[in-house]
Symmetry: C2
Subunit: 297 residues, 2 copies
Amino acid sequence: MIKIATSEDLLNSTDKKQKKIAVAVAEDLEVLSGLKEAIAKQIVSPVLFGNEQKIREVAKLAELSLDNIEVRDTASSDEAVRNALLSVKDGQTQMLMKGGVNTALFLKAVLDKQYGLRKSSLLSHVALFFPPSLSRPVVVTDAALNLQPSLEEKIALINNAVAVLKRLGIETPKVAVLAHNEVVSAKVLASVEAAKLKEMAASGEIKGCIVDGPIALDCALSIEACRHKGLESPVGGCADILLCPDIVSANILYKSMVFLAHANCAAIVEGATVPLVVASRAEDARTKLLSVALAAI
Amino acid sequence: MIKIATSEDLLNSTDKKQKKIAVAVAEDLEVLSGLKEAIAKQIVSPVLFGNEQKIREVAKLAELSLDNIEVRDTASSDEAVRNALLSVKDGQTQMLMKGGVNTALFLKAVLDKQYGLRKSSLLSHVALFFPPSLSRPVVVTDAALNLQPSLEEKIALINNAVAVLKRLGIETPKVAVLAHNEVVSAKVLASVEAAKLKEMAASGEIKGCIVDGPIALDCALSIEACRHKGLESPVGGCADILLCPDIVSANILYKSMVFLAHANCAAIVEGATVPLVVASRAEDARTKLLSVALAAI
Protein backbone atom coordinates (compact mmCIF):
# COMPACT_ATOMS: atom_id res chain seq x y z
CA MET A 1 0.00 0.00 0.00
CA ILE A 2 1.54 3.32 -1.04
CA LYS A 3 0.86 6.53 0.82
CA ILE A 4 -1.84 8.50 -0.92
CA ALA A 5 -1.02 12.20 -0.96
CA THR A 6 -2.25 13.16 -4.42
CA SER A 7 -4.99 12.06 -6.77
CA GLU A 8 -2.34 10.42 -8.98
CA ASP A 9 -1.31 8.29 -5.99
CA LEU A 10 -4.92 7.20 -5.76
CA LEU A 11 -4.91 6.06 -9.39
CA ASN A 12 -1.63 4.22 -8.90
CA SER A 13 -2.63 2.47 -5.72
CA THR A 14 -5.28 0.15 -7.09
CA ASP A 15 -3.85 -3.33 -7.26
CA LYS A 16 -4.49 -3.84 -10.99
CA LYS A 17 -6.35 -7.04 -10.31
CA GLN A 18 -9.13 -5.28 -12.18
CA LYS A 19 -11.99 -5.74 -9.79
CA LYS A 20 -15.28 -6.31 -11.51
CA ILE A 21 -17.72 -3.45 -11.27
CA ALA A 22 -21.41 -4.09 -11.89
CA VAL A 23 -22.99 -1.16 -13.71
CA ALA A 24 -26.76 -0.95 -13.22
CA VAL A 25 -28.62 0.47 -16.26
CA ALA A 26 -25.41 1.03 -18.20
CA GLU A 27 -27.03 2.68 -21.24
CA ASP A 28 -25.90 6.14 -20.10
CA LEU A 29 -23.40 8.24 -22.02
CA GLU A 30 -21.97 10.02 -18.98
CA VAL A 31 -21.42 6.76 -17.14
CA LEU A 32 -19.78 4.89 -20.02
CA SER A 33 -17.60 7.92 -20.82
CA GLY A 34 -16.65 8.11 -17.16
CA LEU A 35 -15.76 4.42 -17.08
CA LYS A 36 -13.66 4.57 -20.23
CA GLU A 37 -10.48 5.86 -18.64
CA ALA A 38 -10.85 3.58 -15.61
CA ILE A 39 -10.98 0.63 -18.03
CA ALA A 40 -8.02 1.95 -20.05
CA LYS A 41 -6.01 2.35 -16.85
CA GLN A 42 -6.95 -1.22 -15.87
CA ILE A 43 -8.51 -0.07 -12.63
CA VAL A 44 -11.74 -1.98 -13.15
CA SER A 45 -13.35 -4.45 -15.48
CA PRO A 46 -17.06 -3.68 -15.89
CA VAL A 47 -20.08 -5.91 -16.25
CA LEU A 48 -22.79 -3.84 -17.91
CA PHE A 49 -26.43 -4.56 -17.00
CA GLY A 50 -29.20 -3.06 -19.10
CA ASN A 51 -30.72 -2.94 -22.56
CA GLU A 52 -27.93 -4.48 -24.63
CA GLN A 53 -28.86 -2.76 -27.87
CA LYS A 54 -28.92 0.65 -26.22
CA ILE A 55 -25.68 -0.09 -24.35
CA ARG A 56 -23.96 -0.89 -27.66
CA GLU A 57 -25.29 2.33 -29.21
CA VAL A 58 -24.21 4.48 -26.29
CA ALA A 59 -20.80 2.75 -26.10
CA LYS A 60 -20.25 3.72 -29.75
CA LEU A 61 -21.04 7.34 -28.91
CA ALA A 62 -18.64 7.15 -25.94
CA GLU A 63 -16.00 5.56 -28.20
CA LEU A 64 -15.77 2.68 -25.77
CA SER A 65 -14.92 -0.70 -27.25
CA LEU A 66 -17.05 -3.49 -25.79
CA ASP A 67 -14.77 -6.24 -27.18
CA ASN A 68 -13.59 -7.46 -23.79
CA ILE A 69 -16.53 -6.22 -21.74
CA GLU A 70 -19.37 -8.35 -20.51
CA VAL A 71 -22.86 -7.07 -21.34
CA ARG A 72 -25.92 -8.65 -19.70
CA ASP A 73 -29.15 -7.85 -21.45
CA THR A 74 -32.17 -7.12 -19.28
CA ALA A 75 -35.82 -6.45 -20.15
CA SER A 76 -36.18 -3.39 -17.90
CA SER A 77 -34.26 -0.94 -15.72
CA ASP A 78 -35.65 -2.66 -12.63
CA GLU A 79 -34.27 -5.97 -13.86
CA ALA A 80 -30.92 -4.35 -14.62
CA VAL A 81 -30.67 -3.05 -11.05
CA ARG A 82 -31.82 -6.40 -9.62
CA ASN A 83 -29.36 -8.43 -11.68
CA ALA A 84 -26.51 -6.05 -10.89
CA LEU A 85 -27.25 -6.40 -7.17
CA LEU A 86 -27.48 -10.19 -7.47
CA SER A 87 -24.09 -10.27 -9.20
CA VAL A 88 -22.59 -8.51 -6.17
CA LYS A 89 -24.45 -10.81 -3.77
CA ASP A 90 -23.10 -13.86 -5.64
CA GLY A 91 -19.55 -12.47 -5.61
CA GLN A 92 -19.38 -12.21 -9.40
CA THR A 93 -18.69 -8.47 -9.05
CA GLN A 94 -16.95 -6.56 -6.26
CA MET A 95 -18.26 -3.04 -6.75
CA LEU A 96 -21.44 -1.38 -7.90
CA MET A 97 -22.01 1.67 -10.07
CA LYS A 98 -25.23 3.50 -10.71
CA GLY A 99 -26.05 4.12 -14.37
CA GLY A 100 -29.09 5.78 -15.89
CA VAL A 101 -31.45 5.18 -12.99
CA ASN A 102 -32.84 7.45 -10.30
CA THR A 103 -30.46 7.66 -7.32
CA ALA A 104 -33.12 7.25 -4.65
CA LEU A 105 -34.55 4.13 -6.35
CA PHE A 106 -31.05 2.72 -6.79
CA LEU A 107 -30.08 3.24 -3.14
CA LYS A 108 -33.40 1.85 -1.94
CA ALA A 109 -32.72 -1.31 -3.92
CA VAL A 110 -29.21 -1.53 -2.43
CA LEU A 111 -30.77 -1.50 1.05
CA ASP A 112 -33.33 -4.19 0.17
CA LYS A 113 -32.61 -7.06 2.54
CA GLN A 114 -32.96 -9.75 -0.14
CA TYR A 115 -29.59 -8.72 -1.60
CA GLY A 116 -27.73 -8.74 1.71
CA LEU A 117 -25.67 -5.68 0.81
CA ARG A 118 -26.60 -3.71 3.89
CA LYS A 119 -23.64 -3.38 6.29
CA SER A 120 -23.62 -0.10 8.18
CA SER A 121 -26.71 1.40 9.80
CA LEU A 122 -26.69 4.09 7.14
CA LEU A 123 -25.51 4.76 3.62
CA SER A 124 -23.56 8.01 3.41
CA HIS A 125 -21.66 10.07 0.88
CA VAL A 126 -17.90 10.22 1.40
CA ALA A 127 -16.02 12.73 -0.75
CA LEU A 128 -12.23 12.59 -0.72
CA PHE A 129 -10.62 15.86 -1.82
CA PHE A 130 -7.08 16.68 -2.85
CA PRO A 131 -6.87 20.46 -2.39
CA PRO A 132 -3.77 21.99 -4.01
CA SER A 133 -3.33 24.10 -0.86
CA LEU A 134 -2.97 21.03 1.38
CA SER A 135 -0.34 18.33 1.13
CA ARG A 136 -2.83 15.59 1.94
CA PRO A 137 -6.35 14.47 1.09
CA VAL A 138 -9.31 15.29 3.28
CA VAL A 139 -12.82 13.83 3.42
CA VAL A 140 -16.00 15.93 3.43
CA THR A 141 -19.18 14.24 4.60
CA ASP A 142 -22.15 14.18 3.97
CA ALA A 143 -22.73 16.52 1.04
CA ALA A 144 -25.29 14.46 -0.84
CA LEU A 145 -27.43 11.93 1.01
CA ASN A 146 -28.28 12.69 4.63
CA LEU A 147 -30.17 15.96 5.06
CA GLN A 148 -29.96 16.65 8.78
CA PRO A 149 -28.22 13.73 10.42
CA SER A 150 -29.12 13.03 14.04
CA LEU A 151 -26.40 12.30 16.60
CA GLU A 152 -26.80 8.58 15.92
CA GLU A 153 -26.55 9.19 12.20
CA LYS A 154 -23.46 11.36 12.64
CA ILE A 155 -21.78 8.39 14.33
CA ALA A 156 -22.60 6.32 11.24
CA LEU A 157 -21.21 9.08 9.00
CA ILE A 158 -17.97 9.00 10.99
CA ASN A 159 -17.76 5.20 10.87
CA ASN A 160 -18.35 5.13 7.12
CA ALA A 161 -15.73 7.80 6.41
CA VAL A 162 -13.26 6.07 8.73
CA ALA A 163 -13.82 2.79 6.87
CA VAL A 164 -12.92 4.45 3.57
CA LEU A 165 -9.74 6.03 4.94
CA LYS A 166 -8.64 2.77 6.57
CA ARG A 167 -8.74 1.16 3.14
CA LEU A 168 -6.37 3.95 2.02
CA GLY A 169 -3.94 3.00 4.78
CA ILE A 170 -4.79 5.72 7.31
CA GLU A 171 -4.98 3.61 10.45
CA THR A 172 -6.47 6.08 12.90
CA PRO A 173 -8.19 8.86 10.99
CA LYS A 174 -8.63 12.23 12.69
CA VAL A 175 -12.16 13.58 12.60
CA ALA A 176 -12.97 17.30 12.90
CA VAL A 177 -16.61 17.85 13.80
CA LEU A 178 -17.15 21.30 12.36
CA ALA A 179 -18.90 24.29 13.87
CA HIS A 180 -18.24 28.04 13.56
CA ASN A 181 -15.78 28.11 16.44
CA GLU A 182 -14.47 25.95 19.29
CA VAL A 183 -17.06 26.92 21.90
CA VAL A 184 -19.95 24.66 22.94
CA SER A 185 -23.08 26.78 22.82
CA ALA A 186 -26.54 25.53 23.73
CA LYS A 187 -27.89 27.72 20.93
CA VAL A 188 -25.86 25.90 18.25
CA LEU A 189 -26.82 22.23 18.00
CA ALA A 190 -23.79 21.50 15.81
CA SER A 191 -21.49 22.50 18.67
CA VAL A 192 -23.38 20.52 21.30
CA GLU A 193 -23.36 17.36 19.19
CA ALA A 194 -19.71 17.90 18.28
CA ALA A 195 -18.77 17.88 21.96
CA LYS A 196 -20.88 14.77 22.47
CA LEU A 197 -19.16 12.96 19.57
CA LYS A 198 -15.75 13.92 20.98
CA GLU A 199 -16.77 12.46 24.35
CA MET A 200 -18.04 9.25 22.74
CA ALA A 201 -14.75 8.76 20.88
CA ALA A 202 -12.76 9.43 24.04
CA SER A 203 -14.80 6.86 25.97
CA GLY A 204 -14.51 4.26 23.21
CA GLU A 205 -18.13 4.38 22.06
CA ILE A 206 -16.84 5.52 18.68
CA LYS A 207 -13.84 3.43 17.70
CA GLY A 208 -10.89 3.51 15.35
CA CYS A 209 -10.50 7.27 15.09
CA ILE A 210 -9.67 10.44 17.00
CA VAL A 211 -12.53 12.92 17.19
CA ASP A 212 -12.39 16.59 18.16
CA GLY A 213 -15.06 19.25 18.06
CA PRO A 214 -16.59 21.68 17.93
CA ILE A 215 -13.81 23.04 15.77
CA ALA A 216 -13.89 25.63 13.00
CA LEU A 217 -12.57 24.81 9.54
CA ASP A 218 -9.49 27.05 9.87
CA CYS A 219 -8.25 25.11 12.91
CA ALA A 220 -9.13 21.76 11.35
CA LEU A 221 -6.93 22.57 8.34
CA SER A 222 -4.20 24.85 9.63
CA ILE A 223 -1.84 24.46 12.54
CA GLU A 224 -1.06 28.19 12.31
CA ALA A 225 -4.73 28.97 12.87
CA CYS A 226 -4.64 26.76 15.98
CA ARG A 227 -1.60 28.61 17.30
CA HIS A 228 -3.28 31.95 16.69
CA LYS A 229 -6.28 30.86 18.72
CA GLY A 230 -4.18 29.06 21.32
CA LEU A 231 -5.98 25.84 20.48
CA GLU A 232 -4.41 22.50 21.35
CA SER A 233 -6.19 19.74 19.50
CA PRO A 234 -5.07 16.30 18.30
CA VAL A 235 -7.04 17.03 15.13
CA GLY A 236 -6.03 20.67 14.68
CA GLY A 237 -4.17 21.25 11.41
CA CYS A 238 -4.28 17.57 10.50
CA ALA A 239 -7.94 16.56 10.14
CA ASP A 240 -8.56 13.67 7.77
CA ILE A 241 -12.33 13.91 7.95
CA LEU A 242 -14.45 17.07 8.03
CA LEU A 243 -17.86 16.15 9.44
CA CYS A 244 -20.39 18.86 8.64
CA PRO A 245 -23.56 19.28 10.68
CA ASP A 246 -25.96 19.04 7.75
CA ILE A 247 -26.22 18.58 4.01
CA VAL A 248 -26.29 22.31 3.23
CA SER A 249 -23.05 23.10 5.06
CA ALA A 250 -21.39 19.96 3.68
CA ASN A 251 -22.49 20.77 0.15
CA ILE A 252 -21.18 24.33 0.47
CA LEU A 253 -17.81 22.93 1.57
CA TYR A 254 -17.88 20.31 -1.20
CA LYS A 255 -18.62 22.91 -3.88
CA SER A 256 -16.06 25.36 -2.54
CA MET A 257 -13.45 22.56 -2.70
CA VAL A 258 -14.27 22.05 -6.38
CA PHE A 259 -15.07 25.56 -7.61
CA LEU A 260 -12.91 27.77 -5.37
CA ALA A 261 -10.02 25.55 -4.28
CA HIS A 262 -9.84 23.51 -7.51
CA ALA A 263 -9.43 20.29 -5.58
CA ASN A 264 -9.58 16.92 -7.30
CA CYS A 265 -12.38 14.79 -5.91
CA ALA A 266 -13.20 11.10 -5.52
CA ALA A 267 -16.63 10.35 -4.10
CA ILE A 268 -18.37 7.13 -3.16
CA VAL A 269 -21.38 6.03 -1.18
CA GLU A 270 -20.25 3.95 1.78
CA GLY A 271 -22.16 1.74 4.16
CA ALA A 272 -23.00 -1.23 1.94
CA THR A 273 -20.89 -4.40 1.79
CA VAL A 274 -19.27 -3.00 -1.38
CA PRO A 275 -18.45 0.60 -2.33
CA LEU A 276 -21.03 2.31 -4.50
CA VAL A 277 -20.12 4.71 -7.28
CA VAL A 278 -23.02 7.11 -7.65
CA ALA A 279 -21.59 9.72 -10.01
CA SER A 280 -23.74 12.75 -10.75
CA ARG A 281 -24.13 14.39 -14.12
CA ALA A 282 -22.45 17.54 -12.84
CA GLU A 283 -19.20 15.72 -12.09
CA ASP A 284 -16.38 15.92 -14.60
CA ALA A 285 -14.60 12.93 -16.12
CA ARG A 286 -11.68 13.21 -13.69
CA THR A 287 -14.00 12.95 -10.68
CA LYS A 288 -15.69 9.90 -12.16
CA LEU A 289 -12.32 8.23 -12.81
CA LEU A 290 -11.06 9.00 -9.30
CA SER A 291 -14.34 7.83 -7.75
CA VAL A 292 -14.07 4.47 -9.50
CA ALA A 293 -10.45 4.22 -8.33
CA LEU A 294 -11.45 5.02 -4.74
CA ALA A 295 -14.13 2.34 -4.90
CA ALA A 296 -11.62 -0.16 -6.30
CA ILE A 297 -9.18 0.12 -3.41
CA MET B 1 -15.78 55.35 -8.64
CA ILE B 2 -13.52 52.70 -10.17
CA LYS B 3 -14.69 49.16 -10.74
CA ILE B 4 -13.50 46.93 -7.93
CA ALA B 5 -12.33 43.59 -9.27
CA THR B 6 -9.34 42.95 -7.02
CA SER B 7 -8.32 43.75 -3.48
CA GLU B 8 -5.81 46.30 -4.85
CA ASP B 9 -8.72 48.09 -6.55
CA LEU B 10 -10.36 48.27 -3.14
CA LEU B 11 -7.29 49.95 -1.64
CA ASN B 12 -7.11 52.40 -4.54
CA SER B 13 -10.77 53.33 -4.50
CA THR B 14 -10.90 55.17 -1.19
CA ASP B 15 -11.10 58.88 -1.91
CA LYS B 16 -8.01 59.79 0.13
CA LYS B 17 -9.96 62.35 2.10
CA GLN B 18 -8.74 60.33 5.05
CA LYS B 19 -11.96 59.72 6.87
CA LYS B 20 -11.58 59.80 10.62
CA ILE B 21 -11.91 56.44 12.31
CA ALA B 22 -12.68 56.30 16.03
CA VAL B 23 -10.84 53.42 17.68
CA ALA B 24 -12.45 52.27 20.92
CA VAL B 25 -9.93 50.98 23.51
CA ALA B 26 -6.99 51.51 21.18
CA GLU B 27 -4.34 50.03 23.52
CA ASP B 28 -4.20 46.80 21.51
CA LEU B 29 -1.15 45.67 19.57
CA GLU B 30 -3.06 43.79 16.87
CA VAL B 31 -5.33 46.75 16.23
CA LEU B 32 -2.60 49.38 16.06
CA SER B 33 -0.45 47.10 13.86
CA GLY B 34 -3.46 46.56 11.65
CA LEU B 35 -4.12 50.29 11.37
CA LYS B 36 -0.51 51.14 10.56
CA GLU B 37 -0.65 50.38 6.85
CA ALA B 38 -4.07 51.98 6.45
CA ILE B 39 -2.60 55.17 7.92
CA ALA B 40 0.53 54.93 5.75
CA LYS B 41 -1.66 54.49 2.67
CA GLN B 42 -3.68 57.54 3.74
CA ILE B 43 -6.89 55.55 3.82
CA VAL B 44 -7.92 56.71 7.28
CA SER B 45 -6.86 59.09 9.99
CA PRO B 46 -7.51 57.56 13.41
CA VAL B 47 -8.67 59.05 16.67
CA LEU B 48 -7.54 56.75 19.45
CA PHE B 49 -9.72 56.45 22.57
CA GLY B 50 -8.33 54.71 25.63
CA ASN B 51 -5.62 54.81 28.27
CA GLU B 52 -3.18 57.28 26.70
CA GLN B 53 -0.11 55.94 28.46
CA LYS B 54 -0.85 52.37 27.37
CA ILE B 55 -1.69 53.52 23.84
CA ARG B 56 1.72 55.21 23.58
CA GLU B 57 3.46 52.08 24.87
CA VAL B 58 1.63 49.79 22.46
CA ALA B 59 2.15 52.20 19.55
CA LYS B 60 5.90 52.00 20.21
CA LEU B 61 5.72 48.19 20.05
CA ALA B 62 3.73 48.45 16.81
CA GLU B 63 6.29 50.94 15.46
CA LEU B 64 3.45 53.38 14.81
CA SER B 65 4.31 57.07 15.11
CA LEU B 66 1.63 59.02 16.97
CA ASP B 67 3.00 62.42 15.84
CA ASN B 68 -0.03 63.30 13.72
CA ILE B 69 -2.55 61.09 15.46
CA GLU B 70 -5.11 62.28 17.96
CA VAL B 71 -5.18 60.37 21.25
CA ARG B 72 -8.04 60.91 23.71
CA ASP B 73 -7.28 59.70 27.19
CA THR B 74 -10.08 57.95 29.06
CA ALA B 75 -10.31 56.62 32.60
CA SER B 76 -11.76 53.23 31.66
CA SER B 77 -12.59 50.96 28.72
CA ASP B 78 -16.25 51.80 29.15
CA GLU B 79 -15.46 55.48 28.85
CA ALA B 80 -13.30 54.82 25.78
CA VAL B 81 -16.20 53.04 24.05
CA ARG B 82 -18.65 55.75 25.11
CA ASN B 83 -16.45 58.61 23.92
CA ALA B 84 -15.70 56.84 20.64
CA LEU B 85 -19.43 56.39 20.03
CA LEU B 86 -20.12 60.03 20.94
CA SER B 87 -17.44 61.17 18.48
CA VAL B 88 -19.33 59.33 15.72
CA LYS B 89 -22.67 60.73 16.93
CA ASP B 90 -21.24 64.27 16.85
CA GLY B 91 -19.80 63.76 13.38
CA GLN B 92 -16.19 64.15 14.54
CA THR B 93 -15.43 60.67 13.19
CA GLN B 94 -17.00 58.78 10.28
CA MET B 95 -16.13 55.17 11.09
CA LEU B 96 -15.72 53.04 14.17
CA MET B 97 -13.19 50.33 15.00
CA LYS B 98 -13.22 47.94 17.90
CA GLY B 99 -9.98 47.76 19.89
CA GLY B 100 -9.17 45.72 22.98
CA VAL B 101 -12.73 45.27 24.17
CA ASN B 102 -15.13 42.34 24.12
CA THR B 103 -17.02 42.19 20.81
CA ALA B 104 -20.43 41.53 22.36
CA LEU B 105 -20.08 44.47 24.77
CA PHE B 106 -18.87 46.70 21.95
CA LEU B 107 -21.79 45.82 19.65
CA LYS B 108 -24.29 46.20 22.49
CA ALA B 109 -22.99 49.73 23.09
CA VAL B 110 -23.27 50.50 19.35
CA LEU B 111 -26.96 49.54 19.50
CA ASP B 112 -27.60 51.68 22.60
CA LYS B 113 -30.22 54.22 21.53
CA GLN B 114 -28.52 57.16 23.26
CA TYR B 115 -25.83 57.18 20.52
CA GLY B 116 -28.29 57.11 17.63
CA LEU B 117 -26.07 54.78 15.58
CA ARG B 118 -28.74 52.17 14.99
CA LYS B 119 -29.92 52.14 11.36
CA SER B 120 -30.87 48.65 10.12
CA SER B 121 -33.00 46.25 12.12
CA LEU B 122 -29.93 44.09 12.67
CA LEU B 123 -26.15 44.30 12.76
CA SER B 124 -24.57 41.68 10.52
CA HIS B 125 -21.16 40.55 9.35
CA VAL B 126 -20.41 41.20 5.70
CA ALA B 127 -17.24 39.57 4.34
CA LEU B 128 -16.08 40.59 0.87
CA PHE B 129 -13.80 38.00 -0.74
CA PHE B 130 -11.52 38.22 -3.75
CA PRO B 131 -10.99 34.55 -4.73
CA PRO B 132 -8.16 34.07 -7.23
CA SER B 133 -10.40 31.64 -9.11
CA LEU B 134 -13.05 34.31 -9.75
CA SER B 135 -12.60 37.56 -11.65
CA ARG B 136 -14.79 39.47 -9.22
CA PRO B 137 -15.41 39.86 -5.50
CA VAL B 138 -18.20 38.03 -3.69
CA VAL B 139 -19.78 38.58 -0.29
CA VAL B 140 -20.32 35.83 2.29
CA THR B 141 -22.82 36.53 5.07
CA ASP B 142 -23.21 35.99 8.03
CA ALA B 143 -20.16 34.09 9.23
CA ALA B 144 -19.72 35.77 12.60
CA LEU B 145 -22.70 37.40 14.32
CA ASN B 146 -26.12 35.88 13.64
CA LEU B 147 -26.34 32.24 14.69
CA GLN B 148 -29.54 31.03 13.04
CA PRO B 149 -31.17 33.96 11.31
CA SER B 150 -34.94 33.84 10.96
CA LEU B 151 -36.58 34.74 7.66
CA GLU B 152 -36.96 38.34 8.86
CA GLU B 153 -33.33 38.41 9.89
CA LYS B 154 -32.23 36.97 6.53
CA ILE B 155 -33.94 39.94 4.87
CA ALA B 156 -31.85 42.24 7.07
CA LEU B 157 -28.70 40.28 6.16
CA ILE B 158 -29.50 40.80 2.47
CA ASN B 159 -30.21 44.51 2.94
CA ASN B 160 -26.98 45.05 4.85
CA ALA B 161 -24.86 43.20 2.27
CA VAL B 162 -26.61 45.06 -0.56
CA ALA B 163 -25.85 48.39 1.16
CA VAL B 164 -22.13 47.51 1.26
CA LEU B 165 -22.02 46.54 -2.41
CA LYS B 166 -23.92 49.65 -3.48
CA ARG B 167 -21.17 51.73 -1.88
CA LEU B 168 -18.74 49.79 -4.10
CA GLY B 169 -20.70 50.81 -7.18
CA ILE B 170 -22.65 47.59 -7.75
CA GLU B 171 -26.09 49.07 -8.37
CA THR B 172 -28.25 45.97 -8.31
CA PRO B 173 -26.40 43.19 -6.48
CA LYS B 174 -27.31 39.59 -7.24
CA VAL B 175 -28.05 37.48 -4.19
CA ALA B 176 -27.71 33.68 -4.15
CA VAL B 177 -29.59 32.15 -1.23
CA LEU B 178 -27.63 28.96 -0.77
CA ALA B 179 -28.88 25.44 -0.19
CA HIS B 180 -27.49 22.05 -1.29
CA ASN B 181 -29.36 22.09 -4.61
CA GLU B 182 -32.05 24.01 -6.48
CA VAL B 183 -35.04 22.05 -5.20
CA VAL B 184 -37.45 23.37 -2.57
CA SER B 185 -37.86 20.61 0.01
CA ALA B 186 -40.09 20.87 3.05
CA LYS B 187 -37.44 18.92 4.94
CA VAL B 188 -34.75 21.56 4.35
CA LEU B 189 -35.69 24.90 5.93
CA ALA B 190 -32.87 26.66 4.06
CA SER B 191 -34.52 25.77 0.75
CA VAL B 192 -38.01 26.81 1.85
CA GLU B 193 -36.81 30.18 3.11
CA ALA B 194 -34.67 30.67 0.00
CA ALA B 195 -37.75 30.30 -2.19
CA LYS B 196 -39.63 32.71 0.05
CA LEU B 197 -36.84 35.31 -0.18
CA LYS B 198 -36.81 34.96 -3.97
CA GLU B 199 -40.57 35.58 -4.01
CA MET B 200 -40.25 38.61 -1.76
CA ALA B 201 -37.61 40.17 -4.01
CA ALA B 202 -39.71 39.46 -7.10
CA SER B 203 -42.72 41.13 -5.51
CA GLY B 204 -40.72 44.15 -4.36
CA GLU B 205 -40.79 43.37 -0.66
CA ILE B 206 -37.01 43.14 -0.79
CA LYS B 207 -35.64 46.01 -2.85
CA GLY B 208 -32.51 46.99 -4.72
CA CYS B 209 -31.27 43.52 -5.58
CA ILE B 210 -32.02 40.37 -7.55
CA VAL B 211 -32.53 37.28 -5.41
CA ASP B 212 -32.51 33.64 -6.47
CA GLY B 213 -32.67 30.48 -4.41
CA PRO B 214 -32.48 27.81 -3.36
CA ILE B 215 -29.28 27.52 -5.35
CA ALA B 216 -26.15 25.45 -4.68
CA LEU B 217 -22.74 27.11 -4.50
CA ASP B 218 -21.55 25.65 -7.82
CA CYS B 219 -24.38 27.29 -9.74
CA ALA B 220 -24.02 30.55 -7.82
CA LEU B 221 -20.37 30.78 -8.88
CA SER B 222 -20.13 29.02 -12.23
CA ILE B 223 -22.14 29.48 -15.39
CA GLU B 224 -20.81 26.12 -16.63
CA ALA B 225 -22.33 24.43 -13.59
CA CYS B 226 -25.67 26.07 -14.44
CA ARG B 227 -25.47 24.79 -18.02
CA HIS B 228 -24.66 21.29 -16.78
CA LYS B 229 -27.74 21.30 -14.57
CA GLY B 230 -29.87 23.08 -17.18
CA LEU B 231 -30.44 25.89 -14.69
CA GLU B 232 -31.50 29.32 -15.90
CA SER B 233 -31.03 31.84 -13.14
CA PRO B 234 -30.39 35.59 -13.19
CA VAL B 235 -27.94 34.95 -10.34
CA GLY B 236 -26.32 31.77 -11.70
CA GLY B 237 -22.61 32.20 -12.33
CA CYS B 238 -22.65 35.85 -11.29
CA ALA B 239 -23.74 36.02 -7.65
CA ASP B 240 -22.44 39.04 -5.75
CA ILE B 241 -23.77 37.89 -2.39
CA LEU B 242 -23.77 34.35 -0.98
CA LEU B 243 -26.38 34.21 1.78
CA CYS B 244 -25.82 31.14 3.95
CA PRO B 245 -28.62 29.67 6.06
CA ASP B 246 -26.75 29.82 9.36
CA ILE B 247 -23.50 30.81 11.04
CA VAL B 248 -21.94 27.34 10.76
CA SER B 249 -22.40 27.04 6.99
CA ALA B 250 -21.34 30.67 6.48
CA ASN B 251 -18.27 30.21 8.64
CA ILE B 252 -17.30 27.05 6.75
CA LEU B 253 -17.55 28.99 3.48
CA TYR B 254 -15.66 31.94 4.98
CA LYS B 255 -12.83 29.71 6.19
CA SER B 256 -12.65 27.75 2.97
CA MET B 257 -12.33 31.06 1.09
CA VAL B 258 -9.33 31.96 3.26
CA PHE B 259 -7.65 28.61 3.86
CA LEU B 260 -8.48 26.64 0.72
CA ALA B 261 -9.08 29.25 -1.98
CA HIS B 262 -6.53 31.77 -0.63
CA ALA B 263 -8.93 34.65 -1.19
CA ASN B 264 -8.18 38.13 0.12
CA CYS B 265 -10.86 39.28 2.53
CA ALA B 266 -12.33 42.56 3.74
CA ALA B 267 -14.91 42.26 6.50
CA ILE B 268 -17.09 44.80 8.27
CA VAL B 269 -20.12 44.83 10.49
CA GLU B 270 -22.97 46.61 8.72
CA GLY B 271 -26.29 47.91 9.98
CA ALA B 272 -25.22 50.92 12.02
CA THR B 273 -25.13 54.47 10.64
CA VAL B 274 -21.39 54.00 10.08
CA PRO B 275 -19.40 50.92 9.08
CA LEU B 276 -17.83 49.04 11.97
CA VAL B 277 -14.44 47.39 11.77
CA VAL B 278 -14.46 44.47 14.17
CA ALA B 279 -11.24 42.69 13.32
CA SER B 280 -10.54 39.41 15.05
CA ARG B 281 -7.19 38.28 16.37
CA ALA B 282 -7.08 35.46 13.85
CA GLU B 283 -7.16 37.83 10.88
CA ASP B 284 -3.90 38.69 9.18
CA ALA B 285 -2.63 42.23 8.58
CA ARG B 286 -3.85 42.23 4.98
CA THR B 287 -7.42 41.45 6.05
CA LYS B 288 -7.33 44.24 8.64
CA LEU B 289 -6.04 46.72 6.04
CA LEU B 290 -8.67 45.70 3.49
CA SER B 291 -11.41 45.80 6.12
CA VAL B 292 -10.52 49.37 7.05
CA ALA B 293 -10.47 50.26 3.34
CA LEU B 294 -13.90 48.68 2.83
CA ALA B 295 -15.25 50.66 5.79
CA ALA B 296 -13.73 53.87 4.39
CA ILE B 297 -15.52 53.71 1.04
